[in-house]
């Protein structure tokens, strides 16, 4: 549960600030978190694909955005395109946006790797959501892989019947894949009936009086950690209001400087991250 909070705080953080040094500090914290959970390799594997997306994003953004005064190149009469104008401002902006996105995606990846559905369910119960809703969420998470397997089999079936799924352009492919949808749906319907049969015969009702096999227990360190997270977020919001951690890109690019106050805050961000991780470790359950 604490993990959930921490990741969430990073998520907000990445939107608040666009100062590269701040973002870097944040990213380092996330990496630390993944290393401490021994998921660094796995997380990097998933991130690999995203890097490609980021590169494309940078190119497109810098080409399309013509704002800004710090010009790199400027041609006024290019055929077809009209004016071609590449500015430092757009390039830097694209870099920063990508970096922000990278952090968001990375926290999602870590969310997937670090938090398992049972824990999530227990957290949701702790937050006093109705159990029926929680069960719905967990069931859909539980059956998602099965759905994938179904889809795989259905694809194989159609391929074995001589249906060329990977032929033609993008839209043709999409249309061809519709063939898979109906059996998938029929199968899921059948499955949902069976699941509800199983629920019913195992005494599941909406009425109260249900107990829970494993619940999350809060230890002192967890409470402390949550307090730190809350403090961290409010501190950051305050900092944002005061005007820290931002820098000007448009219309005139002013290269970010690391002021005295930043020099104090940056290490402290890393420090907070490290403390959080230390609190999480040590046999902690959640």
């Amino acid at each position: 549960m604490v993990k959930l909070f921490i990741l969430f705080s990073y998520f907000i953080f990445s939107f608040l600030f666009n100062h590269p040094a701040y973002l870097l500090a944040l990213f380092l914290n996330l990496i630390l978190l993944s290393i401490s959970a021994q998921k660094f390799r796995e997380s990097m594997k998933s991130l690999r694909y995203f890097v490609v997306v980021v590169l494309i994003l940078i190119v497109i953004y810098s080409l399309l955005n013509k704002e800004g005064d710090n010009v790199i190149v400027h041609y006024s009469n290019v055929p077809v395109l009209g004016t071609f104008r590449l500015t430092w401002n757009a390039f830097v902006m694209s870099l920063i946006t990508s970096f922000q996105l990278l952090i968001v995606v990375y926290s999602f990846i870590l969310f997937n790797l670090l938090i398992d559905t049972d824990q999530l369910m227990q957290t949701l119960i702790k937050l006093r959501l109705p159990f029926t809703l929680v069960l719905l969420i967990t069931l859909s998470l539980r059956f998602f892989p099965l759905l994938q397997k179904d889809l795989e089999i259905i694809t194989e079936v159609q391929k074995a019947r001589g249906y060329e799924l990977d032929e033609g352009g993008y839209f043709k492919k999409m249309r061809k894949r519709m063939v898979l949808l109906l059996p998938l749906l029929a199968n899921s319907l059948e499955r949902s009936i069976q699941v509800s049969e199983a629920l019913e015969t195992r005494g599941f009702t909406k009425s109260k009086g249900r107990t829970f096999y494993s619940t999350i227990t809060f230890r002192f360190r967890d409470v402390l950690n949550i307090i730190i997270v809350v403090g961290f977020i409010s501190g950051l919001i305050f900092g944002k209001i005061v005007g820290l951690g931002g820098f000007q890109v448009f219309p005139l690019l002013i290269l970010p400087k690391i002021a005295f106050i930043d020099a104090i805050i940056l290490p402290s961000i890393c420090l907070v991250g490290t403390i959080q991780i230390l609190l999480l470790r040590g046999g902690g359950k959640k």
Binding site: R161, E200, Y213
Partner: protein, 555 residues
Amino acid sequence: MISMKNFSFQYNNTKFPAIKNINLEIAQGEFILVMGKSGCGKTTLIRALNGLIPHFYGGEVEGSVQIKDTNPFKLGPRKISTMVGTVFQNSENQLLMKNVDSEIAFGMENLGYAPKTMEVQVHQIAEQLGFHHLLAREISTLSGGEKQKTAFASILVMKPDILLLDEPTSELDPLAAKELMELLRVLNKRDNKTIIITEHRLERVLAYVDRLILTKDGEILADSDPKDLFCSSEYSKSFSPPLIELFQELKTDYPDTKIPLNLIEAKNSLNNILSLLKPSKKSDIQETIDSKPVPLLKLDDISFRYPSSTDWVLKNLSMSIHSKDFIAIVGKNGSGKTTLMKQMNGLLRPQVGRITYLDQNTKNKTIAQLSRDVGYIFQNPSIQFYQDSLYDELSFVLKNYGYKEKERDSLIQESLDQFKLYQYKDKYGRFLSIGEQQRAALATVLLLKPSILVLDEPTHGMDIQQKIEFMEYLNIYRMQGNAVVLVTHDIETIAKYAKRVIVLSEGRIIDDGPTHSVLSSHEPFIPQINKLVKQFEELPNWILTPKELLEVLRQ
């Protein structure tokens, strides 16, 4: 324990009652098998006992049901769940949680047990069923047998007096099925649980039950001790597993013969008969293999692993398939059988080694091209249907291969006639019975006249009549010079039909040869009759089926 009086039930939107005039008295501690053809109302009967009728399935109820002197219709699911536990056919779809331990605890949570008690109970049940090592595992990583065990444990932990199991062994290999039945016997004898199961593979369960209920068209046709039932009812003959089939036949020659339910009784009965006969000479089997078989598909030293894993599923495996082959591939759950089958039509491609069809490497052929030569029938036939009617389903395949409308029409007519499906041509595939669905799958695949037919567990869920019918179709196809390869746990069926058997273990072929020599020598795959025959010196030890034994005895 259970009492049903004049019970009838009709689902909403149907014309006929699914079960009618059911009168049943079941005492505590009985072990009952409900049998009947597919669609005879077995599952409905189970639903009436566990409260799904009428709590879950609306419909019209007549008559009364009493469980432990209470009317289950007036109780909520919570109360019923402590009296009656149900294990459904498909174990995958009744597991709801992520981990094994939370799955087992789920029922107790619903009943409001204290967390401490639950923990103790979970560990106790795991100890009892011998899978303590699985408790922390994720359900998605379990094998079929382990999933079945988890589903069973999660029911058992709620301590119901009555256990209902709907075709519990259908997804299990012979060994796992035996383990499950042994466990049920213990629960029945030691804990005095009332157990009611349905099953098509009688050879797996008959030795364990002490009462048989035979249903036909929603009514109870016979209800008695298993022996009496197989002696008296002519209708029961269409369900007889091999051992009983043998003695039903022998009874016509020797009227005093007792019908045995297990091997020991069978040995005694056969002993009596053999003492009347002069010990026949040991005759040798002549397993005729076509003198000049044409090699069709060759797998040459292939190895395969899934991209996401480092474990090799198939290891240095070589085999060839010839025309007129009828090959059965057997092996435990997880030995790589399905993976091997998928190599044959290119659904999966080996990383090492090569596969040739008529001496041409199949590497560069698409699945669609290969499917003209190698037809593939998947385990669950219903998953393939997506057109509104059977006719369109067949037409779809021909369209994929560019057939013109005229050609299509005549080919489809011919095929529907051949598989006796013409009357269903406008029906949606999923609404057909399992036997009809499998026939439809066969029709679809054979439209293209492939020379090899590959089938994954084709007899799954079929009753004996449906099996015989289906296997005969395969035989006809084979006699036309084609090859049949199938993967199955259904030993008794392949003992009758297969000409060659391959035993797969952990991705390797450990035996490959004529059916008689292979099946009679690999332990969990030995057919019942063969086990019986081996107890007698004077009988040839290659015999696998009742027919073969009868021939020898009647010489």
